[in-house]
Amino acid sequence: MSDEDRHAEGDARFARVLNELRRPIDLGPEIDARVLRALREDPRPARAMIAGGPGKWRRSPWGVAGIAAALAAGIAAAVWIGIPRARRAGEQRPAAGATRAVEFVLRVPASRVSLVGDFNNWDPEASPMVRASDRGVWAVRIPLAPGRYRYTFLIDGARWVPDPSEPPAVENDFGTPTSVITVSYGST
């Protein structure tokens, strides 16, 4: 182990950071399903040669056009990632009414915190947050259908605070700084 490794690993508190980062993160088997759908719909290989028998290769019947198509595959893939998610091949909208549980967490010194946003008509009474620790952590979990929502936190009924986890996003209709959350399709 090198000096910098020892420096990093030797710090007991820093080790907690590493342990947290090393925990696996599974984005869900829905990704596999979407990939398979996309490959079934367009199984095009990114190559100009196709298999012609055991251990052999032969020219693609596409000829030069095939080579161009293979090169275009890379371009197409680059363009593909710019297509709105809900419109991509193989990606399906969830059934009507399907929701995902979304956890909102804020660390702030306060005696009362509410979550307000497009999803609850900006009603301060609709989604009160629960004090989740004595270190000023507040949390609430609400079901959201896929879509884009503006929201903010209301501190002690008087102060509006955008989500520090997100960049300052937009002004709402009342001139209050807000954040934006996008609940995605295809991962319900």
Binding site: H7, V102, E103, V137, L144
Partner: protein
């Protein structure tokens, strides 16, 4: 006994999508972790992992060492993350995959989420090259030789990036450590 990567790659090259599905299931978690921490947002991470899987399948003939499919796939992901960083990113909080429910979560869970948010923010403030080197070395457990082969950067530069990233993270998280 599970089928080897090499066998699955050979079957997938022949168009067997079930073989490719087995490979995706095998490597999805590892790719997800790197993508989430490199990009900072789950939606972006899902996109690059999905894109990496599709690109890898369509380039399987260029996987010269099928028994090292995992390393080859990871390299594709690292490159996709670099490309994604250059684009305007969407913003999305990490979203659970649990069924929607209004039951309050445990205090420990909320504390854990807050902690991970702090950690993700600190990582996000690192320069991208330092974040990448730090994650590859300390999280993915790569040697500097492996990192050099993957990134093309000199070993001395990689060592410096890892050290600077560790120092900066340590400073940024000094006031956040709990427990």
């Amino acid at each position: 006994m599970s089928e080897s990567d090499a066998d699955l790659v050979l079957r997938a090259r022949g168009g067997d999508l079930s073989a490719y599905a087995a490979l995706m299931a095998r490597y999805r978690v590892g790719l997800g972790r790197h993508a989430v921490y490199m990009l900072g947002h789950r939606l972006d991470a899902e996109e690059v992992v999905q894109d990496a899987f599709i690109r890898a399948y369509r380039s399987l003939d260029r996987c010269e060492q099928p028994h090292r499919f995992g390393a080859w796939l990871f390299q594709i992901l690292v490159n996709r993350c670099r490309t994604m960083r250059g684009r305007t990113r969407r913003r999305e909080r990490l979203v659970t995959n649990e069924p929607a429910a209004e039951a309050p979560q445990s205090h420990d869970a909320a504390e854990s989420i807050a902690w991970r948010d702090e950690l993700a923010r600190a990582l996000g403030r690192l320069p991208a090259d330092q974040r990448e080197a730090f994650l590859l070395h300390h999280v993915e457990g790569m040697s500097y030789e492996e990192m050099r082969a993957l990134t093309g950067a000199r070993e001395s530069a990689l060592r410096m990036r890892v050290k600077r990233a560790a120092d900066r993270l340590r400073a940024m998280l000094r006031d956040v450590y709990v427990g």
